[in-house]
Subunit: 238 residues, 2 copies
DNA sequence: GTTTATTGTCTCAATTTATTACAATAATAC
DNA sequence: GTATTATTGTAATAAATTGAGACAATAAAC
């Protein structure tokens, strides 16, 4: 940590200059679609978790690595959705502010103060199985409902909007539910994921018939208990 | 041109290093979906048209500029679909070969020989309205059916495959036909575009009913003549 | 004038989706 | 224990969409 002055700033010799990635990490608590947002030390600045690509590292691998470091999870569902490359998206003064807040004075030509193109990915993880870890520069990392995000730095709000739209568009063909839910789940839980992503209520009987008709679920005879009503089946993806 | 030695090689001071774009430019001749492929001087190497991003230029603007230079068209339908960033996609020996074939000896550390991440876009243009222009390094630029492409350098075949799949996925929601056809067209021509993109025959009556049901076409009383049969209506997009 | 190929539209069948209904049942209240 | 409550699984029916074929209309070729 920076208290001891032993946090090493990333050096351009190790990374591809001008290139970053940002990740929109989705989870679902059963009611709302949420994403992980981090807050930088002493700045009140909120941002998407992101990082840089090493000189000899695949772009996809860099993102997977960053995600592993933050969530402890490996083999996460991860999909690239857009590269953001406007000149005005880079805001050197923002980067300077958050470096300064952590006790760093960097030269004017420090590589992180230059223009960056970012490639954005979204990830789907099981909300309950993650204990997110802040990085060296950030204070906290927390779940926020996509309806109630804090103001984000630079163009990160646009990145989130684009991610949510992409998730909606891909809902049918990419088995989103599989990655946002635990291994076994009820039909109701699956429907709630769909509703959280689409932002609208669905008709129960139609949803059930459609999903079962896709022939992608296995039904388990083991029943879930806990509600004052008939116990539902548990399902898993085939 | 290089004969006179007065073609200037691009300098890294003007461009963002390690970052390129490639464009998959679609057209439709009425039967087949085609794309523009360029062939480099004296090399027998075929590639997608691409380029680099200037230091103070938006990513999207760079691609639009490249397209304008090659097709003479402005306001082209252009959509980003994927960034390719594997370490192994860059093949410095290929770049060296084609520079050499044009009479250039470049130093080992020349920026174009380094690793590149490319952001790929697809464009939709009206096949008949374009007179494509080769660039300084390339011999020719020609339409090729997506079924019969020459072998392409580096990962350009993968880029094309991804573009075609993206186009299929977007066929319904993005009014692809509008950008591949002239302003006025017959129902048959529109159907042929759909068939070329999907790679399958569609039923005439069903297609017509579906398209008209979308309420996106204006019908013009002016009739097209030329065939030994009833003259069809001309349509345009609303 | 006859033939030919294609067009615009209609009909009916097949399939899919929407809506309603209802019995089954696990927990709770009593 | 029994009635109550909320939710579940499934069936039945209505509505909408799509598939497949039929047919008259007609511009050009012969």
């Amino acid at each position: 940590m920076n208290k001891n002055g032993d946090l090493n700033l990333p050096l351009v010799k190790d990374y591809i200059p001008h290139l970053a990635y940002d990740s929109v990490i989705f989870g679902c608590n059963g009611e709302q679609l949420k994403i992980l947002i981090l807050e930088y030390h002493n700045t009140n600045l909120f941002a998407l978790p992101g990082g840089f690509v090493k000189r000899n590292e695949n772009l996809d691998s860099a993102v997977a690595r960053g995600l592993r470091e933050r969530t402890g999870l490996d083999h996460i569902y991860l999909e690239q959705f857009h590269a953001f490359g406007d000149t005005l998206r880079s805001r050197p003064e923002v980067m300077k502010t958050l470096l300064k807040a952590n006790g760093y004075e960097v030269p004017e030509d420090y590589w992180l103060l230059q223009r960056f193109i970012t490639v954005a990915y979204y990830a789907l993880i099981n909300y309950d199985e993650v204990q997110p870890m802040p990085d060296a520069l950030s204070d906290s990392i927390n779940w926020y409902s996509i309806e109630e995000l804090p103001p984000l730095i630079m163009d990160h709000s646009v990145i989130v909007k684009t991610a949510v739209q992409t998730l909606k568009d891909n809902l049918e063909k990419k088995l989103v539910g599989m990655n946002l839910l635990p291994a076994k789940f009820t039909m109701r839980e699956l429907q709630q994921v769909y509703e959280a992503v689409l932002g609208e209520k669905l008709r129960r009987t139609t949803f059930q018939r459609k999903i079962l008709g896709l022939d992608i679920l296995s039904r388990h005879e083991k029943l879930f208990s806990g509600g004052a009503h008939k116990a539902p089946y548990l399902y898993s993806f085939k």
